[in-house]
Symmetry: C2
Subunit: 273 residues, 2 copies
């Protein structure tokens, strides 16, 4: 199927979606993005993602060349032109074509990509490797993934799926998803040093209907003693983490509460999204 | 004058030098670069820059699609096609067209840009603003300049030229250049947490002919007490720093030793480059 990509005001055939090499994302990694899904043409938590995209732009000093109404229209057109049952929609905003290769341009570059998306749902649960790192500006969904991408060979060698970041003895997040622990029927997720995930937000809401929930610092020591661990994100929904380094959680199986929340969140997403 | 840019195996007119939006620098900031000058067709310290470019690529797990001989030929052709008296040459290597938007492609994208270059040589000396930050992977010349570019409005408001990074009470470097202090006729520059600048390397060599030189940690306290401060880089050569935050060095004028090294380095560059 011919796919289409929005780039600076118009939709073009995906193979023709190119940017000039003076773009500040290419030259200096300067840009933000956001990502969400549309299922059967219906965008999931779109307004949340637009809120965050606009906030990331503001915090980066970039002006999105489209207001909320225009962004919604671009997204609807992306969905119409790329009619996959499950579509992943990525909005990218860069520092534009910089006149000197460093200072952001007056006009940023806005790109919206729609691509078919498939959930990976490993039955075994995920394995993480802990890594001492704190994302530079955690509240902004910047383009900078140098550290975790550089770790991919190490993850592969350890047969791990992703990283668990920690700093100053506190855990924060994974490379592209938030982390939750369950201890004595209480659901806890870090409050600082993390990207405020949209799935995280809604899982907290769903969890609060059934359990005590806490947003606060989690030490590495507390993490190792968790009854269950799970991760949340737009590409994952809610997935169990059954191992981190050499520590196995819940005997390597998805926990009762994780499974309950997984089902409750899926029902919630279908009703709300 | 029509300029030409090398992109993945061929030279194209600069306005046609475009990459597809699935490039991993655009999507995830994943890439490295290097930059040097050619003066009247003669590349300055090219082998040093090629050493560093190859080392950055290796440390990022990227394979440059050109060996040393091929790279030299691309650079010579860049100079021939863009015959400016002073040419700035930027080599960029990205994670390529990623199949899934995260994992580097088997073939990275190699871009070489030649653009006219003018030295900025402020007579007054530079003013820096100190900022608590440590580049993530200091030894690699990655594309990630999110933090300093985001600080540009703050620098402008303070009428400052650039930043001075420090962490754990030690200074490291500026956004795109190395830092040296002069104290009691001794030249000192930080040894860890910095990019090993090519100009830094040669200035150390030149300085050692005339002064005691030390590569070691420099505390903020020591920095504030410096007799003279200067910065080095390929776009700056050697420039005095006469102020950082509210502290003025050498009564706001270029210091005797800084001036001496500036002249000595210029003569050295002309002889060696």
């Amino acid at each position: 199927m011919q796919e289409y990509i929005f780039i600076n005001g118009q939709f073009v055939k995906s193979q023709e979606a190119k940017i000039h090499v003076t773009d500040l994302a290419l030259l200096r990694g300067y840009g933000i993005f956001d990502f969400f899904r549309a299922i059967n043409g219906k965008p999931i938590f779109m307004e949340d993602h637009l809120d965050r995209f606009e906030n990331s732009a503001r915090l980066m000093g970039l002006t999105i060349p489209a207001n909320r109404v225009a962004l919604r229209n671009i997204i609807q057109e992306t969905i119409r032109l790329n009619p996959y049952p499950t579509l992943g929609i990525k909005m990218i905003l860069t520092g534009g074509y910089s006149p000197d290769g460093y200072v952001p341009a007056e006009a940023p570059n806005l790109i919206v990509i729609g691509k078919p998306f498939t959930f990976k749902e490993p039955k075994q649960g995920l394995k993480l490797l802990s890594f001492a790192y704190q994302r530079e500006i955690p509240a902004i969904k910047t383009l900078n993934y140098i550290v975790p991408i550089r770790l991919l060979p190490q993850l592969k060698a350890a047969q791990a799926d992703d990283v668990l970041y920690y700093a100053n003895n506190l855990i924060s997040e994974s490379s592209r998803s938030n982390i939750f622990i369950v201890k004595n029927q209480t659901i806890v997720t870090p409050q600082t040093g993390v990207l405020y995930g949209i799935t995280r937000k809604h899982v907290l809401k769903v969890a609060a209907k059934h359990y005590a929930v806490e947003e606060r610092d989690i030490s590495l020591a507390e993490y190792w003693e968790a009854d269950e661990v799970f991760t949340t994100g737009s590409t994952k929904r809610l997935l169990p983490i059954v191992q981190t380094d050499d520590v196995i959680f819940n005997k390597g199986k998805i926990g009762t509460i994780t499974q309950h929340l997984q089902e409750a969140f899926l029902a919630y997403e279908k009703g709300v999204g």
